[in-house]
């Protein structure tokens, strides 16, 4: 079973990767590539956050802390000029994982909104460190002077096309990893913790360890998103770690839906499209975005992808219902 599932995922991943790579060669406008890289970076951030929010029920308000740590660690490593890009990514991911472990060890012990608050506090703390430690981080002006992209294995990321393909490969690899977690026994344990912590406890699950595990994983994935963005904008800015960035990721999850694996990606695409077009037509994009959010939250009461899935399921059930009802009535009479 597992193996068949994995092969299917692998197949889907390959298809997605091919589509991602081919599309910009059909529509050659560079802005499409820009758009897709943004969607990949923010989508990865939102998906990694959804490992906490949707899968485990841990509502983190401070996930951008790992996004920003990814961007800065990678940027600083590259600016030091001592490591190649793959090594820098590896160190960044491990480094962020350690950071996530330290923060997570404190945070996951807290429940519900207290978890949200303390993740927020840590994020603001990291953000203020970045602002204060000017000599290392460049303070409010961010990492300046660009992030060098020395060629490795014959790949030169200073060309837009190869940077795009590289980003697409990393993106798809991360999605594949998260998909395996989503479907694994570990993933189901996390769902159990989300839905019924008492039962999980009773079954002998070490809840704190499980939560910490997914917290570290989500942090590491968020750092990859940070790497992608810093590679693309050739810089790192404190705003990456401000609470609004976490808020945006949460918004993507809510827009797309938290229960469907690809929900956050759909949310990222929708939000980016929305912002793109709204800001072309009006400077009052806040007003428009606000009204759209209200319409979705108050109208659908769930993410768009979740809504569509539920809607389809309801329709299927409605078709099956008459038969079921008949059976039920029969049983009651008997």
């Amino acid at each position: 079973m597992m193996k068949a599932g994995f092969l299917r995922d692998l197949f889907f991943a390959a298809v997605v990767l091919i589509v991602l790579i081919v599309v910009p060669f059909i529509f050659t406008k560079p802005s499409l590539r820009d758009f897709l890289i943004y969607v990949m970076a923010y989508g990865l951030l939102a998906m990694s956050l959804n490992l906490l929010v949707g899968l485990t029920g841990l509502v983190s308000f401070g996930h951008a802390a790992f996004f920003v740590s990814g961007a800065y660690m990678f940027g600083l490593l590259m600016q030091s000029g001592r490591v190649s890009i793959p090594v820098a990514i590896l160190i960044t991911v491990c480094g962020t994982a350690v950071l996530a472990m330290v923060i997570g060890a404190i945070c996951v012990r807290l429940k519900e909104i207290y978890f949200s608050f303390i993740t927020l506090a840590f994020q603001m703390f990291i953000h203020s460190i970045i602002l204060t430690w000017v000599s290392l981080t460049g303070g409010d002006q961010g990492l300046r002077g660009g992030i060098p992209r020395p060629p490795f294995f014959g790949i030169d990321l200073s060309s837009g096309a190869s940077l795009y393909i590289f980003s697409a490969c990393i993106f798809v690899a991360c999605i594949l990893i998260m998909r395996q977690v989503w479907q694994s026994p570990f993933g189901y344990t996390l769902r159990l913790i989300r839905d019924n912590p008492n039962r999980a406890n009773y079954l002998g699950v070490d809840i704190v360890r499980m939560k910490l595990g997914v917290f570290i994983l989500a942090g590491a994935m968020a750092s990859v998103a940070g790497v992608l963005l810093s590679l693309f904008v050739s810089g790192a800015y404190p705003e990456f770690g401000f609470w609004t960035t976490s808020g945006e990721a949460i918004f993507m999850i809510m827009l797309g839906g938290s229960q469907l694996f690809v929900g956050p990606i759909i949310g990222a695409i929708l939000l980016r499209l929305l912002e793109h077009f709204v800001s072309i037509y009006t400077e009052y994009h806040g007003l428009v975005l606000g009204v759209v959010i209200l319409a979705i939250v108050l109208g659908l009461r769930q993410g768009i992808a979740d809504y569509v899935v539920d809607f389809l399921q309801r329709r299927r059930e409605a078709k099956a219902a008459p038969a079921k009802e008949a059976a039920f009535v029969k049983k009651r009479i008997a």
Binding site: P24, L131, V134
Partner: protein
């Protein structure tokens, strides 16, 4: 109330109904032909949040400049269209909207109306894409002074911190000598611009008047709503003079809150940011005799060109021109003049070649403002310090500093910094 007067359509009508079609629309190659006649000027700037006025006053100025040229028939039959985009003051967003303006909207030229941190992000993008760009709001000296950041297609049409520091330092030194102001303190926002600006001001003030001694330096947070703890701290320290790089709404709050403590009764005040009309008019009780750098004034320089600029500006905007307004207006003039010389050819390097060393008369007249070709930054713009009065024109007695002196000291500063 804001009265928004719209000039040429800054929104692109052509995007039209098909726009929402999504990815395909973004990917579609943009239409050549009839549209190619229009020259598009992209303006990434801050249109929302606390410093929205930064962007809106810049936009008024850019629109004014290009409306004027459109009404005059354009250049070689080509008209202009200004496309603005809100960066929300975030550097990553600034980078993104700049890319969009170029790659998606097909803008030929970028006028960068970002504050400092955003400017550095835009700088990376335009350097990457090789498009002509004029930074119009960032005063951070290194943006053009640092040769590592130099790009042949990128210019700065804005005050430069180091120029003003020389002018401010010499002005402050003179007053310090006259009035015996020895004990100084500073109170500037805690971010790169605030720190650099303050350090540069002090460096020159001390150079010109060595008896100046800095007794304390306070660094309130950028956009802090309340400065009471800084003000009371200043009262404990009792300096004879205070320098502050606060600007915008922060400065308005700082002055009003200081008034409550009567801070300026016994303390001389030197401000890099007070001389902007929207700030001067927002302060309800503007104390007399505060010293401020020139940012914009409808009576200085007293030239017919300046009056004409101010009159035209207030017709389209709800307030007098700001510092950013004249800088953007001047930047537009550089672009227009360069296009005139290339006969409407928008090639970046051709335009850049023309702009290097160019002098424009608008908006101040006189000898004009010159784009220095060595480091792509403007000189000969008004650099002066004056004193506040309680009613319009708000600042009087502007004292000029010789540009030759500024340039000489700038050279030494560059050497010191390793830029030259």
């Amino acid at each position: 109330m804001t009265k928004t007067t719209k000039g040429i359509s800054r929104r692109r009508v052509l995007k039209g109904a098909g726009a929402m079609a999504g990815l395909a629309a973004i990917g579609a190659p943009h239409i050549a032909g009839a549209q190619a006649k229009v020259i598009k000027i992209g303006l990434p700037t801050i249109l929302s949040g606390r410093v929205a006025i930064l962007g809106t006053s810049s936009r008024f100025a850019v629109q004014l400049a290009f409306n004027q040229i459109n009404e005059a028939g354009g250049i070689n039959g080509r008209k202009f269209e200004v496309v603005d985009r809100d960066s929300k003051g975030r550097p990553d967003e600034a980078a993104k909207v700049t890319r969009d303006l170029i790659n998606n909207d097909g803008c030929d030229i970028i006028i960068d109306g970002e504050a400092s941190s955003g400017s550095f992000a835009v700088h990376e993008v335009v350097r990457d894409l090789g498009i002509l760009c004029l930074h119009t709001c960032s005063e951070t000296s290194s943006l053009t002074a640092d040769p590592k950041l130099f790009s042949k297609n990128v210019f700065r049409c804005a005050r430069q911190g180091i120029h003003d520091a020389v002018a401010g330092g010499s002005y402050a030194a003179k007053i310090a000598k006259e009035k015996g102001l020895k004990k100084w303190a500073t109170c500037s926002p805690d971010y790169a611009y605030g720190r650099d600006n303050t350090a540069e001001f002090l460096q020159y003030a001390k150079m010109f008047e060595p008896s100046i001694e800095v007794v304390d330096q306070l660094w309130p947070k950028l956009f802090a709503p309340d400065y009471t703890e800084s003000i009371t701290k200043l009262m404990q320290v009792k300096p004879q003079a205070v320098y502050s790089a606060l600007w915008g709404g922060d400065l308005v709050a700082f002055i009003e809150q200081s008034n409550l403590y009567r801070l300026f009764q016994n303390t001389a005040y030197f401000s890099g940011g007070l001389g902007d009309p929207p700030i001067l008019t927002a302060i309800k009780n503007l104390p007399q005799g505060l010293n401020t750098a020139y940012r914009y004034n409808n009576g200085f320089p007293g030239s017919p060109e300046n009056t004409a600029f101010c009159d035209a500006y207030v017709k389209v905007a709800p307030h007098e021109p700001t510092n950013w307004a004249w800088q953007n207006y001047a930047a537009s003039q550089f672009i227009i003049e360069a296009l005139r010389r290339t006969n409407g050819n928008t090639d970046s390097s051709a335009l850049a070649k023309e702009i290097s060393g160019m002098t424009v008369k608008k908006p101040f007249g006189g000898a004009g403002i010159t784009m220095r070709d060595s480091d792509h930054t403007i000189i000969n713009y008004p650099v002066a310090w004056g004193k506040t009065v309680s009613k319009s024109p708000w600042v009087l007695d502007y004292v000029d500093t010789e540009w030759s002196k500024i340039i000489e000291l700038e050279k030494e500063w560059k050497k010191e910094k390793g830029y030259a």
